[in-house]
């Protein structure tokens, strides 16, 4: 199968040279003549009615351009799914940091004082800050019942299983908010003229999301909105939806002032005001047979969406579908719910709901193992999904995955059994307790259910005048290697050299809408379309008699050159068509949730230091089946980077909330892993291939975010014989648990047994 020349090899990153020489251009590196700088005046309270806005003396207000909701030419919303989030609050505010006014000035340094000199008086309204407060509905802060969205996935007859169960195991698990913490803060530049309309350049993942939002906000037709992605310094989902807000703000200031306007957030503003991972709570109640087989279960998955609906319904959907993990559930009912609170809206972050629900599932598997009296290894082995069986949405597993084999390999690579044995002896003495933990999981690639059909993505490939080809997609590069891999795919499909292929910078004036760069869909879905569009160029040249059945790269280039010289522009387009056997019922939430899944087993080795109560991860094995690996160095980079973020999610990254506002919006007090905090992360791949992806590829970007947290917490339980079901797990939590009760008095197990 591996006769390809370019896919599967570590070609140089397309934009790598610019990045290592400092020449890569990010939005803050760009200047336009006569440019103003913009800043945002934000709500200081979680919820209330705006009574009065005062511009205090001491500021030369006549030098400032000031924009309020009244200046919005179109609809005052950030068009996304539900259109409920205003671009600028006009009468009510619903969360701290909600934008109210915009200021612009030629001198960047003048802005801070001016923002501080705007006083806003409010009539405060009662607010809610937690899932539980929102559920109680003592205060309705959104819609009729504080609920953005619910889903029910119902398979088999769950009500009939409880009487047959030998054990019923219950657990509740929770995860905290997590900041994406891309190192480049959000930023946008907008320029307006009446002829051409509005153009924005910025740090973003989804040019056509921004395009759609600006059309609605500025009341402009398609051709008068142009969105250009600049080099983007990390995103991880954090630049999926919020850039539409900043682009809107810059656009409003540009329209009012008639000058280009740049808005760059500083770190504190970026952390406090923009999206974070949804906090979650998952409740499991599982019926298990004496021999450790899952008979059925109820899973209740709830996420805190913050003050506006934004993407919460979609995050909820992915979290719900992944909530059963890689296991066979003959009967299951998953109830999922996204609720409103008065915090800034939570949003996309790598994994998109799955890291939350899979954390719960994988902690719960260890709890089930304990109750049944089996090892964490054995309980998983007895319940793994197998080809031919169905998932919670009744999707038949058609991929030839053997999870038992994957597990065995992960155990052997991590020396799981021998280390576990050794630690159980060594842990009897000393103040360092070591443990081993496993997580098995899956991650669906591409949009959920009918999502890809609705997106109907388009890509183009262009034969250029110099004989090379150029890929035209709106898929963005923000570190993952989009540009490199899509060029590899086109070169492979056409029999060209990697150097013969270039890729356009995403610019809505030039590239078609190939969908957003999210959901681990780029290589699998967009890559497949690039392959197909590339073949269109080849066919055109062959049909024109300019290219034979076999050809060299130079012959292709000559043919392409001649064709362009004779006939002008040579472009080939491909549009997504759903595979014929994919069925999805949006109402019943049943069917083929994803065209393909990636599968993984991760093993964490940890040590808890009982003098500092801190956990260190000493070794980490990440084994996954991701279809064909198209670029080994980039693929390893995705896994290691994702595991590092997962370790942060588990052990370091805690958002401190007070009245809906993030209190630690600095890198000094919101702690992400440094170079000294990470273990060796050992990455291994199985490659089974995939009929739906380019050259057998599946999604890879989000998968590594799902496994580390449960593997680490399972390892902590192994080390201490105390289970923790909430992350982040900080030293103070361990201190409290150890001093509060000894392991012997832990009644978790007993209470789970019928």
């Amino acid at each position: 199968m591996n006769h390809e020349r370019i896919v599967g090899t570590a070609v140089p990153r397309k934009e790598g040279r610019e990045k290592v020489t400092g020449k890569a251009r990010y939005v803050d590196d760009m200047l336009l003549p006569d440019m103003l700088y913009g800043a945002t005046v934000r709500s200081q309270i979680p919820r209330g009615r705006i009574k009065k806005i005062t511009f205090n003396p001491g500021i030369a207000w006549n030098e400032f351009v000031i924009v309020s909701a009244k200046d919005i030419p179109g609809k005052n919303c950030i068009a996304l799914i539900g259109d409920d989030q205003p671009c600028l609050a006009s009468e009510f505010v619903n969360h701290p940091e909600e934008p109210i006014l915009l200021l612009a000035h030629p001198d960047r340094r003048a802005l801070r004082k001016a923002v501080e000199a705007v006083s806003i008086e409010y009539d405060p309204l009662p607010a809610v800050f937690t899932i539980e407060e929102s559920e109680r509905c003592s205060e309705i802060v959104w819609g009729a019942d504080n609920i953005f969205k619910t889903y029910i996935i119902d398979k088999g007859d769950i009500d009939g299983v409880w009487s047959r169960a030998d054990y019923i195991v219950e657990g509740e698990y929770s995860t905290g908010a997590q900041e994406q913490l891309y190192i480049e803060n959000n930023g946008m530049i907008a320029a307006f003229d009446a002829q051409r309309g509005i153009t924005v350049w910025g740090s973003l993942q989804c040019p056509y999301y921004v395009h759609k939002a600006l059309m609605a906000l500025c009341s402009l037709p398609v051709e008068k909105v142009r969105v250009v992605q600049m080099e983007t310094g990390g995103a991880f989902g954090g630049k999926e939806e919020y850039p539409s807000m900043i682009a809107g703000h810059a656009a409003l200031l540009a329209i009012k002032s008639g000058r280009p306007v740049k808005i760059i957030y500083d770190r504190a503003e970026d952390m406090a005001a923009t999206t974070k991972r949804h906090p979650s709570r998952t409740r499991h109640r599982t019926a298990v047979s004496r021999d450790g087989k899952i008979l059925g279960g109820e899973i209740e998955f709830t996420i805190d969406g913050g003050a506006y609906a934004t993407l919460s319904s979609v995050v909820l959907s992915r979290g719900a579908i992944h909530a059963g993990g890689p296991y066979y559930w003959p009967n299951v009912r998953i109830r999922a719910k996204a609720v409103a609170t008065n915090a800034p809206p939570h949003g996309a972050f790598r994994g998109f709901g799955a890291p939350q629900s899979l954390f719960a599932m994988e902690r719960h598997m260890d709890r089930i193992a304990q109750v049944v009296g089996l090892s964490p290894v054995e309980i998983r082995r007895r319940n793994f999904l197998a080809p031919g069986e169905t998932t919670a949405t009744e999707q038949i597993v058609r991929e030839p995955i053997d999870l038992g084999k994957l597990l065995d390999r992960a155990l052997s690579l991590s020396e799981y059994h021998s280390k576990k044995k050794r630690f159980s002896i060594e842990n009897q003495a000393g103040t360092t307790k070591k443990g081993m933990g496993i997580a098995a999981f899956l991650h669906g690639a591409g949009f959920t259910g009918s999502g890809e059909r609705y997106l109907s993505s388009v890509v183009g490939v262009e034969g250029c005048a110099d004989g090379g080809v150029r890929v035209l997609v709106s898929s963005t590069e923000f570190g993952q290697g989009t540009k490199t891999v899509l060029c590899q795919i086109a070169a492979e499909a056409l029999g060209l050299r990697y150097e013969d292929v270039t890729i356009a910078q995403p610019d809505t004036a030039e590239v078609p809408n190939s969908g957003p760069t999210v959901a681990s869909r780029t290589v699998m879905v967009v890559g497949k379309l690039v392959e197909s569009a590339a073949r269109g160029i080849q066919q055109t040249l062959m049909l024109a008699g300019m290219l034979g059945d076999s050809y060299s790269a130079d012959e292709f280039r000559a043919a392409c050159r001649s064709h362009v010289a004779a006939h002008g522009e040579l472009r080939s387009w491909a549009q997504y068509e759903p595979p014929p056997d994919v069925f999805w019922d949006d109402q019943a939430y049943r069917g083929e949730a994803y065209a393909a899944y990636s599968w993984a087993v991760y093993v964490a080795e940890i040590a808890v230091d009982l003098t500092t109560y801190s956990v260190s991860v000493n070794d980490f094995v990440a084994l996954q089946e991701v279809g064909r690996v198209l670029h080994p160095v980039l693929a390893i980079g995705q896994i290691v980077g994702g595991v590092a973020q997962g370790i942060g999610f588990a052990l370091y990254e805690k958002v401190i909330w007070q009245q809906g506002r993030m209190q630690n919006s600095q890198m000094t007090n919101y702690i992400m892993p440094t170079s000294s905090d990470l273990p060796p992360i050992r990455v291994f791949f199985e490659e089974l291939g995939n009929v739906h992806g380019a050259f057998g590829a599946k999604g890879i970007g989000e998968l590594p975010m799902d496994g580390p947290a449960p593997a680490i917490l399972n390892a902590v339980q192994d080390a201490l014989a105390i289970g923790f079901d909430s992350i982040p797990l900080l030293p103070e939590d361990i201190f409290e648990a150890i001093t509060a009760h000894s392991p012997a008095s832990d009644s978790d197990v007993a209470s789970g047994v019928r």
């Binding site: 140089p12 290592v20 400092g22 980039l634 980079g637 994702g642 600095q666 992400m672 060796p680």
Partner: protein, 167 residues
């Protein structure tokens, strides 16, 4: 729009940047980072946090690695500054830059200029660092994409190449 009134309080500061002598007119407490980026057009140094935590604005000042967001430009009077733009000679990439490219040490690229300067500084002091010394040497520079391992690999590879060529 800049009037002479607005320039009041600024002073002339001379410094050497990437081998060339520069004289800038700046407020003494202006950040070296802003002077480099805005006045000298050297945008390779990035602002990630503005408080010396992330290291994206790292430059070399008289051979020492500093966070240019924490250096008032007055403090750089007479100093020799090296930024990422001063590292590659012409079209020839520096060994470290080459190694970062090969090993996957740069993903989104925003921390890369600072990270490469930190690595350059480390290798100047210690041409054959152990893995622990590499981790320590880069611990002032945050990277959210890579999980650092491919960066360590790049630094080790560059060190090895430099040792091979110099011996």
């Amino acid at each position: 729009m800049i009037s002479s009134l607005e320039d009041r309080g600024k002073c002339e500061i001379s410094l050497t940047v990437n081998g060339a002598r520069k004289v800038v007119l700046a407020f003494p407490m202006e950040r070296l980072l802003d002077v480099l980026r805005q006045q000298l057009g050297l945008t390779g140094a990035k602002e990630g946090c503005g408080e010396g935590e992330c290291g994206s604005c790292s430059v070399l000042m008289d051979g020492t690695l500093v966070n240019s967001c924490l250096i008032p430009v007055l403090q750089a009077e007479g100093a020799a500054i090296v930024t990422i733009e001063g590292l590659a000679e012409g079209a020839q990439l520096q060994t470290l830059q080459e190694a970062f490219l090969e090993c996957g040490g740069a993903q989104c690229g925003i921390c890369t200029p600072g990270m490469i300067l930190a690595a350059f500084h480390l290798l100047n002091k210690n041409p054959g660092p152990t893995l622990e010394e590499i981790k320590e040497g880069l611990s002032g520079n945050l990277c959210r994409c890579t999980g650092y391992l491919q960066i360590f690999e790049a630094v080790a590879r560059a060190a090895q190449r430099e040792t091979t060529t110099s011996s």
